[in-house]
Subunit: 237 residues, 3 copies
Amino acid sequence: TVDTKPTQSGLTEFVGTAPVGDTIGMVIANVDSGLSENLHLQKQFRSLGILSARTGGGPQIMSMDEAVKATNTQVVSIQMPRDTKGGAGHGSLIIVGGDDVSDVRRAIEVALAAVPTHFGDVYNSPAGHLELQYTARASEAAHFAFNAPIGKAYGLIAGAPAGIGVVMGDTALKAANVDVLSFASPAYGTSFSNEGILHISGDSGAVRQAVIAAREVGLDLLGTLAGKPKNDFPSYI
Amino acid sequence: TVDTKPTQSGLTEFVGTAPVGDTIGMVIANVDSGLSENLHLQKQFRSLGILSARTGGGPQIMSMDEAVKATNTQVVSIQMPRDTKGGAGHGSLIIVGGDDVSDVRRAIEVALAAVPTHFGDVYNSPAGHLELQYTARASEAAHFAFNAPIGKAYGLIAGAPAGIGVVMGDTALKAANVDVLSFASPAYGTSFSNEGILHISGDSGAVRQAVIAAREVGLDLLGTLAGKPKNDFPSYI
Amino acid sequence: TVDTKPTQSGLTEFVGTAPVGDTIGMVIANVDSGLSENLHLQKQFRSLGILSARTGGGPQIMSMDEAVKATNTQVVSIQMPRDTKGGAGHGSLIIVGGDDVSDVRRAIEVALAAVPTHFGDVYNSPAGHLELQYTARASEAAHFAFNAPIGKAYGLIAGAPAGIGVVMGDTALKAANVDVLSFASPAYGTSFSNEGILHISGDSGAVRQAVIAAREVGLDLLGTLAGKPKNDFPSYI
């Protein structure tokens, strides 16, 4: 049998892990230029913070959105592999830059601590998943990843298989007066994930109402395939 | 333990599910324009029918091919996520449009009912899969997805891992005089699936003969990896 | 229960399998031109050798690198599906061409025999994987896939989730004086895999030193998620 008990790390690069999503946080104090030139970073920095996960996605991006608000760091890269370990969604590789390693270390610490919260409205069943995210005030990571206007409320509404996300999106737009930022689907704006994902912006009450209405419809539809979808952390929306 | 017993849905959008592939069918009677403008539809319609699955792919497309023959609807979108829940193939998001929700609802009902039939020549083993599809008379969905000439016989020949599909394709083209529509492979024409997929057209007897010859070779080759591949529904070709 | 005992094949196209990765080897003595024109081959040949796998990737490419050194064949295609059966990496479809089927058959035999060796530095845990590859003298397959300069030492350093590969890459470039060929990540140069992959070239001692330093850091970091990663074949680097 495989021994899955996590081991300790004494590396200076290691910051920590989150208890969900196989999420790991690391820093590089003074990154080799031959590497950083090949990372497709929006801007070059001496110190990098790295948040990466097998499952998620949205939760890690929203967690980093909080982290950059709290620290002197800048999002320089967000990449979404096709992953979730046989599931329908994405993993993540998120990089922030800073002039000082203590800044990026702090950002990664804040992000890791926020990851469980942002899994609160991720619902799984054997047949698929739903993901809902909400913030009253989008910041740099939501803007970088999803074009969310900074300082305005932002909502993410996703369903898998993708058709469920289409109906969730329609429900959301009928529930409240919000702006459509984009709608991602398997061949447009995802990494071939089996998701329909609506990104919305607007007045915080309207965005929240739209997300909540979509969640109800998504739970109902996904349940018809393989039973009631379950979240592993407390709902936060 | 997870309770996987499907739940009922009373939503007007819910049409039904198929007993394979985590396949769900839904309709939207009067789609929000902010959503439909972002769905990359070939044409805008008031009413949409949505067929979506975690596994397949070909079976759902062939099922919709029958459905549009039988109803006053038009295929407006076919997207293929990389899925099959850890397997080597695709899931699906198929959208049809119509002027009346009763038309699109009927199309989704017909398609859902046809899905098990079209899994009849999908063979699985722990090492991969084969998929064969045949129709004597291709219609709109096969044309939209695979460029099958409408009204002519069409055949799909797929193997995973992809190299098996290459040998199946060679076998098919040597077995009968058919036209090659295309050959899809991991980097060309798939969503990075691990499949080799030959699409053929021509005289119905020749297409059928090519598909049957390819099936025999595929079963033989895939069996060498992890045992005899099995279909879960009766073979229909 | 599924009977997974591999079956025998008497087909002339069948060469063999490897005991890892669901890897199969096949040949086509005289390929149908309608097929080969659609395979996106770098050059057309009468006889094709086909190596294809659900898991890997790097091991199969390095194995074919040895095989083309040993035979009168040419690499004509390397495609990398997103696969590993729910894991974070790639499968493979590798095609070699030759004027004589005995040449391509020999190449496939040599490659199949070399596959277990090249899994020696693939380490898996429930949370992800590491892959290290090294050759003192890159040949055609490493050049075709990774732009490795022919005749020089080449190293591959990969970690999943992708952020681990970023830190492994930084470690490698600080450990020894090597040339960066490229760095692949989920959105750049992979098939949306959840990997960070550094490709290096240079003096054989330096490349080896860089790979070994990266391996140590990767084992340490990946272990923090779900325990000590394990290789299934003896380490060869």
